[in-house]
Symmetry: C2
Subunit: 237 residues, 2 copies
């Protein structure tokens, strides 16, 4: 995706968002004029749990994680988002405080659009409104699935699942090495456990020839089996 500096480029970038497919050309122009383009470094915070969020954020390029603070300061990553996805949606819509902290995991290029501008468009375009409803409901579904995952899967299965997630979000190079140098601590908070448990599990996976470890680099050797593992207990009878 190209950098969006002027209105035309911005318009072009926004067109790639499935979310906006029902906008008319005029609405898209109006939106483009009101989007603020920003670039952020890795490890920047877009917004913090408990703060106001007044903009919807379109990710043009890069990765973010949404983190909820849990018991004893333990963090839980509830979502990774990449280029083409939108964030801040829930807080913006309900005009309530953010219930996650959102942080970049790579340099980020994103467009910020104010709540009021979006509301105007919603009021003028019911197809778009319906699209937003659908979007919210899809996120809801994802989140509900996640509950069962976290509640009932074992760490082994969750680690496998997170590896697959990381592959989908960050991608892999030609050798199936994850294109990210995520820390064990970060993996742990995505799994919902402590770093030591992640390390033990990764070592097991290495012994089982599922992955290869080389420092922070993780090479996925058997993606089908990892995928199956991540589902195993949920669908077992």
């Amino acid at each position: 995706m190209r950098v969006a500096y002027n209105k035309k480029d911005m318009n072009q970038s926004l067109r790639e968002f499935e979310f906006l497919k029902d906008l008319t050309n005029e609405e898209m122009d109006y939106l483009s004029e009101n989007v603020i383009y920003r670039e952020l470094d890795n490890k920047s915070v877009l917004y913090r749990e408990g703060c106001k969020v007044d903009s919807l954020i379109f990710i043009f390029d890069g990765i973010v994680k949404q983190v909820k603070c849990g018991s004893k300061g333990k963090e839980l990553v509830i979502r990774f988002a990449k280029a083409g996805e939108i964030i801040g949606f829930r807080s913006m819509m309900t005009d309530e405080l953010a219930c996650t902290t959102t942080e970049t995991m790579s340099p980020l290029r994103a467009g910020f659009i104010k709540r009021d501008c979006l509301l105007e468009i919603i009021h003028s375009n019911t197809s778009f409104a319906l699209n937003i409803i659908r979007q919210a409901c899809l996120e809801l579904e994802e989140t509900q699935k996640f509950i069962v995952n976290v509640a009932q899967k074992q760490i082994r299965e969750r680690v496998a699942e997170v590896l697959i997630q990381l592959k989908n979000v960050f991608g892999v190079d030609e050798d199936n090495v994850l294109k990210t140098s995520i820390t064990r601590k970060e993996i742990a908070s995505a799994v919902g456990t402590v770093p030591e448990s992640v390390i033990r599990m990764l070592s097991e996976f290495r012994d089982d020839k599922l992955i290869e470890l080389n420092g922070k680099k993780i090479k996925l050797l058997d993606i089908p089996r990892l995928t199956r593992m991540s589902y195993s207990s949920v669908y077992a009878i």
Copy 2:
């Protein structure tokens, strides 16, 4: 809430739903004409996980639980809903398969309204559409909170929490006895554990003078402390 048999009564019953507050009188009339009124026995299934849901359901009276099937057939209650709440919202909106099974926990009186009818109203009334968006986002927020709960709270805290939930949903009589004879197994699937663990926890609570047990009857002796317990670890630093 009264039984809604004719259009006028139906209209009256629907007026009590916060969800519908932005409808015009005409829209409300139109809705009333299209709502199908039904009464269901205890332990009836409204819809099953994996099936199509083509109606939004307004609960006039009674309680339902929404259950997701998890690993090894273990079930997880992800929500209780009572009079004044709506269900089937997500599946209906995305026109996808239900991701929960919804079952009555008492005799139920409810109104069923077809997807198409609702879509018409959404198209004609953007305030209503916005209200639906808000509704979806609120549910999303609840669900996200629930994740951290399930992922990080201990069984003790979760049991306390579910007791408070049961109080809020089913109510208590003048002696603070829960107005439900829910089984230990059902409590377990709301907590995300096995019946034995629930029983042990309830026994502990009894020894700690938090509750009194008498067969299936549960009397809440110290609601403030139960409430505090249910929050304890999440907000501890």
